[in-house]
């Protein structure tokens, strides 16, 4: 009948069933995802197959995005503190009230103590770029990313050695030496998948060094339970053997590197016999491995890992590993390591603007005030630490001593330093003295409980964001597209920051108000790119993979782009590098000048045990992300605590049985642990997964469940790079 319900298309009655392409945020790997949304609710998540490396794969954490979205413990109303700081007495407030409270408090601090008295912290990514911009427009130089508690050693070592980031071609390698890079638990789907294929291929060889029988170790052809923190000694002896026997890529080193003589001089004594006492690995094994790696070169990778921070010598360890790759001549070789083929570089090479260049929508003017940690400042202990990332370990002391100047406030977005930074006891005491703490988060975290104002954030499934460029062999672009509107009361950090900027009087600094304007600005009006990113969530350049020192690869590239001269491509590698010498630096003169003994790899600062009987090490699990996911129902059901790994002989020596509780302690702290007895760890080593042992009475499911390794870590940092040191000496005490 005309005009009746029956006359309508059946689809009108069926409700909406659509796919939204976005970017995951259950960890920091930023995998491209595909979200199925039925009647406005996300019901299914999978990898975004437009990224061929993903296909439809996704991990347990990624799949749990829906579980996080609808977790009943999620924050949906702003809270303002009414009791003492940390006492957990709150009142609900409207978003307007909460934001105006934050703005007026920040205004007051700026007037009384100066804008530099506010600290700002976030993990890297869009939220960090946004917050850094907010901080500098407000007038504070004190921005902190998670870097110094995570990948800063590798970032720093790459910068000092190559002048840029390098990447690993696991896919085509024949031989990989893995130094505790636990890719099968700290997942990054494209990388982990490539590594899994490698490990499962009988014609390839995987060597894993780890004090613990990790998932990676379980897939190794040979596993060496190296003594914790002693990677450096192992690599120094490998380098020694190669230099002793002249088994390295002479032509490459001569042409592209500086400092071979200094390296040789430094490695005279680091023989395979010498390293035995540090690593516990047999000298003959080193000789054999050195020979095998050399024979596999250049299709070999010495994998520097992501976050390792094994000892104070972290910078040296990581540089030594990079230099091992260099000696094997695997740079810009298939199955070796390579540098990013950036859109800028490709456009220049092809003499056409084929790949979109973005402009930053986050203006960050230089505020002209030095930082509390001196990061990036000439003459400071942290002169080689990037200014915008800072050193998290320096915060507590700076607050407690109010040096170098008054520090009164801290704005944190989904950052939980009371779990992820060393010595949280001291950090808690420091936080207690602040006048303003603002926490933007989806959960009432340990840190949120110390706040004056808690702002409930929308999760990534509810957020539209800007464009992200992924650098690598082939550049790609991703964009977070929201699958549903934010739950009542929550909003994105972008909206929060934009409103606060208006209230603080510097809204004009931003060339955008809405996300549409932000995206258009960022893409410089490239509507085709934006349209693809809304529809597909992932856009990749279609160039053939290009390894500049691989003849076949260069030829294939030039066949595809006939107008590009072969020589022109090869010459890209001949350019001056962005290091002080313009070459790959085996020896860094400017580092040596500031940190004697650190210019070239050598055996320094390798002790982590400090006369304690055991070394406590920690790491990621495949189920949880740092201090972020412990309350997510699906993941909590899989892993709700983190018992301490202990070798049977250690347990026996202390009269401990499975599931017994005991304490581990050192001069920093004392932590209660439950014992998990396993053959999969060295008798002198103990292991904890990260992110547990929380103090979150408002999240009762995870409150005081499991143990926190951070409580036993000192605020000492690794020279040059400022990294937190996550291995430490402890003793076992009976409960």
């Amino acid at each position: 009948m005309q005009g009746s319900l029956r006359a309508l298309e059946p689809s009108v009655l069926k409700g909406e069933d659509k796919w939204v392409r976005s970017v995951c945020e259950m960890c920091s790997s930023r995998c491209a995802i595909d979200v199925r949304v039925v009647d406005g609710k996300p019901v299914w998540l999978q990898g975004n197959a437009f990224d061929a490396r993903m296909h439809t794969s996704i991990c347990a954490r990624g799949l749990s995005g829906v579980s996080q979205l609808y977790d009943k413990d999620r924050l949906t109303t702003p809270l303002i503190r009414v009791g003492q700081r940390g006492e957990n007495r709150w009142r609900e407030a409207s978003l307007d009230e909460a934001l105006s409270f934050v703005a007026s408090s920040m205004q007051r601090l700026k007037k009384t103590y100066g804008a530099q008295s506010m600290l700002f912290s976030s993990k890297t990514g869009e939220s960090f770029d946004l917050l850094s911009s907010f901080a500098s427009n407000y007038g504070s130089p004190n921005t902190f990313s998670h870097w110094s508690s995570c990948p800063i050693a590798i970032e720093s070592a790459l910068e000092q050695t190559f002048g840029e980031r390098a990447y690993r071609d696991f896919e085509h390698a024949d031989y990989i030496v893995n130094f505790g890079h636990n890719l099968f638990e700290g997942l990054d789907i494209p990388l982990s998948k490539a590594m899994a294929r490698f490990a499962a291929n009988p014609s390839k060889k995987l060597i894993v060094l780890d004090p613990r029988f990790s998932m990676m170790a379980g897939k190794a052809d040979e596993w060496y339970p190296i003594r914790a923190g002693q990677d450096l000694a192992f690599v120094l002896s490998l380098l020694h053997v190669w230099l002793r026997d002249a088994k390295y890529d002479h032509a490459f080193v001569q042409r592209y590197c500086i400092g071979l003589d200094a390296l040789k001089a430094s490695l005279k004594e680091t023989t395979p016999q010498w390293q035995e006492r540090y690593t516990g690995i047999d000298a003959r094994t080193i000789e054999r491995l050195a020979d095998e790696i050399y024979r596999a070169a250049p299709r070999c990778i010495l994998d520097w890992g992501h976050k390792a921070t094994t000892s104070p010598a972290e910078f040296q360890r990581t540089r030594a590993i990079l230099i091992a790759n260099v000696l094997m001549g695997n740079v810009e070789k298939k199955g070796g390591i390579y540098f990013a083929k950036t859109p800028e570089m490709l456009n220049e090479l092809l003499q056409k603007p084929l790949f979109p260049l973005l402009q930053s929508p986050y203006p960050a003017p230089n505020v002209g005030i030095s930082r509390i940690d001196g990061a990036g400042e000439e003459g400071s202990a942290y002169r080689f630490v990037p200014k915008k990332h800072g050193v998290l370990n320096s915060i507590a002391d700076a607050i407690l001593t109010q040096q170098p100047y008054a520090i009164k406030g801290w704005f944190l977005t989904r950052h939980n330093p009371l779990v992820t930074v060393a010595d949280p006891q001291k950090m808690r005491a420091a936080m207690a003295t602040l006048e303003l703490i603002v926490v933007n988060d989806i959960y009432m975290s340990d840190t949120a409980m110390m706040a004056d104002v808690v702002l409930p954030e929308a999760t990534y499934l509810e957020r539209d964001e800007g464009i992200h460029v992924h650098q690598g062999l082939i550049p790609s672009y991703t964009m977070r597209n929201r699958a549903l509107m934010p739950l009542r009361g929550t909003q994105s950090l972008r909206e929060t920051v934009r409103r606060l900027a208006d209230a603080l009087g510097f809204g004009d600094a931003y060339p955008w108000k809405t996300i549409q304007e932000l995206r258009a600005y960022q893409a410089k009006g490239d509507s085709a790119l934006l349209e693809s990113l809304v529809k597909r969530g992932y856009v990749q350049a279609t160039i053939p993979p290009l390894f500049l020192r691989e003849e076949a690869s260069v030829r294939a590239f030039c066949e595809r782009y006939a107008h590009v001269d072969l020589m022109r491509v090869s010459e890209m590698f001949e350019r001056r590098r962005k290091t002080p010498s313009g070459k790959i630096e085996l020896f860094c003169a400017h580092i040596e000048e500031a940190f004697a003994g650190y210019g070239v790899p050598c055996a320094v600062d390798m002790d982590v045990q400090h006369n304690y009987p055991y070394t406590l090490i920690s790491g990621k699990s495949a189920i949880h992300t740092n201090a972020h996911t412990q309350n997510v129902p699906y993941l909590h059901a899989l892993m709700s605590e983190n018992p301490l790994w202990m070798h049977p002989s250690t347990a026996k020596a202390h009269g401990l049985r499975p599931n017994d509780t005991c304490y581990i302690e050192n001069e920093i702290g004392k932590e209660k642990v439950k014992v998990f007895i396993t053959e999969g760890i060295r008798p002198d080593t103990l292991f904890l997964y990260m992110g547990f042992g929380r103090q979150t009475p408002l999240l009762p499911k995870i409150d005081r469940k499991g143990s926190s390794a951070s409580k036993l870590l000192s605020l000492q940092t690794a020279p040059v790079c400022g990294a937190m040191i996550t291995n430490t000496g402890v003793r076992i005490v009976r409960a």
Binding site: L45, Q46, T56, S57, I58, C59, A60, L63, P202, M215
Partner: protein, 188 residues
């Protein structure tokens, strides 16, 4: 046409990440305290000579299913493709099938109070020519699924190339789920 389904679990590729486990829960709305699918990871050997074993624990879709013959009401049945399913409305929760299953694959859904297990995601995915949820999300592509009658299917090709083993093969249940055993590490 009837299908000869097979699911291959490659222990060499599995990293025990539990993506399959969570995917199954999300796809099939499995209540929190029970599982249709888990991967158990165990370490064996004596330090430092160790090995890791990965075991997929779920229904193996027997060609000769002991759970069907013991069912007093016909709730447990086998489809023309040889898949074992449960008519929820006919299940009286007598638990005979739970005891009969040598793979410990069945359990009582505490919300519905009926016996439940893996279905290869038959209704929501397989019947629409989609792979089971666990197969489609596997982070390392350790799971392969398909029709053995199609010579060029991934499972047929992989079965020709690799030695596949069937769990508890000696019981004569003829599972459709098989595995490629780990090549590395200390032997059990």
């Amino acid at each position: 046409m009837a299908k000869a389904y097979r699911l291959i679990f490659d222990e060499n590729l599995c990293i025990g990440c539990q993506a399959c486990n969570v995917a199954c829960r999300l796809e099939n709305d499995v209540p929190e305290e029970v599982y249709r699918l888990q991967v158990h990871v165990t370490t064996h050997g004596v330090f430092p000579h160790l090995g890791m074993h990965f075991e997929r624990r779920s229904c193996v879709m027997c060609d000769e299913p002991p759970c069907v013959s013991v069912c007093p009401t016909g709730a447990s049945f086998q489809s023309k493709d040889g898949l074992v399913h449960i008519h929820e409305s006919q299940c009286i929760t007598c638990k005979y099938c739970i005891l009969a299953c040598p793979y410990h694959a069945r359990f009582i859904n505490p919300v519905k109070n009926v016996v439940e297990k893996c279905t290869f995601c038959f209704e929501s995915r397989l019947s629409k020519a989609l792979d089971p949820a666990c197969v489609s999300v596997c982070t390392t592509e350790a799971l392969r699924f398909g029709d053995m009658d199609q010579e060029d299917s991934a499972v047929a090709m992989l079965s020709r190339k690799e030695t596949v083993l069937f769990p508890k093969a000696h019981l004569g249940t003829k599972p459709k789920v098989c595995f490629i055993p780990a090549r590395k590490g200390a032997k059990v």
